[in-house]
């Protein structure tokens, strides 16, 4: 018979589970409230979600303080790993979610917000992402990823129109294929190292001096395909524009930020030690992927006729840009990744929120999609404030100083130069010049064209005070990023460096 195992509770560090547990408890609370008394207004659920997320964020920040003093913490039989990456990832995840959830308080009614389950699934999804970033065990990464993804598919479909089903089914099917890739990749890694913990995989591989190089490369191929899907790298990106178009603009903005930062963190854990240990192949492949992703998506973005699809391609391009940081792999580059993504969250969420407030329920005659460029033409005349906001977000996305993303871009390019990737830096700079074209196209439409009759009644039709507040927060974040860049960098560098990346 097996001996009973005695484990002291203190050695478990159960508190490492606290942030995720809060989100899960929040979700269960919402489900229970609905059981007790149905038909409550959505604003109650928004407030409950916000409350739990706030507590969640507080706990994560508290972990941040602990981290600064004691360094990384492990818990639950080394299953949980709370290091700087996990903490910063969770801050962005929870913070981004807090910006997103009030977007439910629209003045028009949409199908998904009638379900209390929507908010429960949302909180479950956040818990899933949090598990994904706060571990280096491939099983927990996989389970967390699937929890989050399954919830996300449902959130997309709940928007309830034919395009959102199409989007959800496409995303789901491709996600199932990517899950297969992930499982197969993990299997090969397990075969050659006997472990499914990333740091152990790394040390076994190093101890073997990469003797099974063929196995490693095949495993990395599968992993790249799986994360290429999650991070929308070309050619695994094909779902992105369709899914963004099919889901509500708010959710599309959310998808361009939060799931990706979770993906980036896992990619960072998984690929960086390989990049550093001189797997030349991986460097070359990542290089090609980054360049192709940035350039191709920029070119495709140029020919879009719908603003939302244009923004979808643009976020692919931004993801490619940030992926370069993983290729470069220095502390400076990893710091830049977090800085970029924090700044990108504000700007991109703002841009998508602007689409969300001008959402109309039914298309006009001759209108091919929800947000054609014509919808925004002459906006400066009909809604000057909205036009200025949108223009601001576009300028920031284009990387025009002194707005938010300029600092992210310049810092990543600088890290490329100091990391010895001069040509890459050049390509990145060239791409951000290329990207300016399509962002300006929207500005040209807004500032330099005559309004198209028929659309004016949709501007801000969906805006409520809370949506305007969110846009205001996003705008403030974008404009005053100048002031925040320096303190942010200091903190991020501290976290990244002390986590050993």
């Amino acid at each position: 018979m097996l001996e009973p195992i005695n484990v002291s509770l203190a050695s478990l560090n159960v508190t490492t589970l606290a942030p995720m547990l809060i989100a899960i408890i929040g979700a269960l609370t919402i489900l229970c409230i609905d059981l007790i008394k149905g038909g409550l207004h959505k604003s109650l659920y928004v407030m409950i979600s916000l409350l739990f997320l706030l507590v969640d964020l507080g706990v994560v920040v508290d972990f941040g303080n602990v981290f600064i003093e004691n360094g990384p913490v492990t818990g639950m039989f080394d299953m949980m790993l709370i290091d700087g990456l996990a903490i910063m990832g969770q801050v962005i995840i929870v913070g981004g979610s807090m910006l997103f959830i009030p977007l439910a308080l629209t003045s028009k009614r949409f199908h998904e917000y009638n379900y209390p389950e929507y908010f429960a699934l949302f909180l479950f999804m956040i818990a899933g992402f949090q598990f994904m970033v706060a571990t280096d065990n491939l099983i927990l990464i996989f389970v967390g990823l699937e929890t989050a993804s399954l919830a996300l598919y449902a959130l997309i479909a709940l928007h309830n129109r034919s395009k959102s089903f199409e989007a959800a089914v496409k995303y789901f099917t491709m996600g199932a294929l990517a899950a297969g890739f992930f499982a197969f990749g993990s299997m090969i890694l397990y075969a050659i190292t006997g472990s499914i913990e990333i740091n152990q995989i790394g040390s076994v591989l190093a101890a073997d001096h990469y003797a099974n190089i063929g196995y490693v490369l095949v495993a990395v191929s599968f992993m790249l395909a799986a994360f290429g899907f999650k991070l929308s790298m070309v050619p695994f990106h094909t779902w992105t524009p369709d899914v963004y178009e099919g889901s509500s603009a708010a959710l599309a903005g959310y998808m361009s930020i939060v799931p990706k930062i979770a993906g980036f963190i896992v990619a960072m854990r998984l690929f960086e030690f390989l990049v550093h240990s001189g797997v030349v192949w991986l460097q070359v492949i990542l290089y090609i992927t980054v360049v192709v992703t940035m350039t191709a998506s920029n070119i495709w973005a140029m020919v879009q006729t719908d603003v939302k699809r244009m923004l979808a391609y643009s976020s692919i391009s931004h993801a490619g840009f940030v992926m370069a940081a993983i290729l470069i792999g220095t502390t400076q580059a990893n710091t830049a990744l977090f800085l970029y993504w924090a700044l990108f969250s504000f700007t991109n969420l703002g841009a998508f929120a602007m689409l969300w407030v001008s959402r109309q329920k039914n298309l006009l005659a001759g209108q091919s999609s929800d947000h054609p460029f014509e919808k925004f033409s002459g906006l400066i005349k009909t809604m000057p404030m909205a036009a200025i906001m949108m223009g601001l977000f576009m300028l920031s996305l284009a990387g025009i100083p002194p707005f938010g993303l300029f600092w992210g871009k310049i810092y990543i390019i600088a890290s490329a130069v100091t990391g010895g990737y001069t040509v890459l830096a050049l390509i990145m700079a060239l791409n951000s010049a290329l990207a300016a074209y399509y962002y300006l196209k929207l500005i040209v439409f807004m500032f330099m064209k005559e309004p198209v009759v028929g659309y004016e009644k949709f501007y801000l039709v969906n805006a409520s005070l809370s949506l305007k507040t969110i846009i205001g927060i996003a705008a403030i974040g974008t404009i005053f990023a100048v002031v925040a860049v320096n303190p942010l960098l200091k903190i991020i560098t501290l976290f990244v460096y002390n986590s050993g990346y």
């Binding site: 484990v7 299953m79 076994v204």
Partner: protein, 195 residues
């Protein structure tokens, strides 16, 4: 010797069953072939000493998943022959075969490693299920609980998506219609008053 024969027999059977699953135009054949394939896979698990896994495989797949799919087939009325438009069937096979060949090419070379460490050894003294239970509720407690959450999420998602409330789309309805509908539904059933 028994092991060799069993391996090749079950390998051939599994490959045959799964080939039928992906090639046949009859949904019913595909479903039954897949169920058979799953059971043959559980045979591998027993051969490999993973008794618990074998049992789970049979219960979850043939018990739960197949039942769900069978229900789906009835609901979607896909029992007759499926007509599927084919585009570039050759490309598909080339891609599939290429993927397999490439991976196999690597897999036939032996794994060279002197640093493999067994973290959770199989103990001959105790049965597989006990060992699994032991490790599942210590090391893998957190993933286990998260898996539970995942199943809950899947359940909620499935129920909500397949539910009756999805029949009408508030997203596409004008505000007045929604108000009208809410007024009608509020009277008979206050539970549905959310509209």
């Amino acid at each position: 010797m028994f092991e060799v024969v069993a391996f090749y027999l079950f390998a051939a059977l599994t490959i045959a069953m799964f080939t039928i699953t992906v090639m046949t135009s009859q949904a019913l054949y595909a479903l039954t072939a897949m169920a058979a394939g799953m059971i043959f896979i559980s045979a591998f698990f027993f051969m490999l000493g993973a008794d618990f896994l074998g049992v789970v495989q049979i219960i979850v797949y043939t018990g739960a998943v197949m039942a769900l799919y069978a229900f789906g087939m009835m609901f979607f009325d896909t029992t007759r022959t499926m007509v599927e438009k084919r585009e570039n069937p050759r490309t598909i096979f080339i891609l599939g075969v290429l993927a397999a060949t490439l991976v196999v090419f690597i897999f036939i070379s032996p794994i060279i490693s002197t640093h493999l460490e067994t973290q959770y050894p199989l103990e001959a003294a105790s049965g597989n299920s006990q060992a699994i239970g032991m490790i599942l509720f210590t090391k893998f407690l957190v993933p286990f609980e998260v898996a539970a959450v995942m199943l809950l999420v899947a359940m909620i998602a499935g129920i909500v998506l397949a539910g009756k409330k999805m029949d009408k789309s508030l997203t596409l309805m004008a505000e007045e219609e929604i108000a009208l509908m809410g007024a009608n539904e509020a009277k008979p059933d206050s539970q549905e008053g959310a509209h």
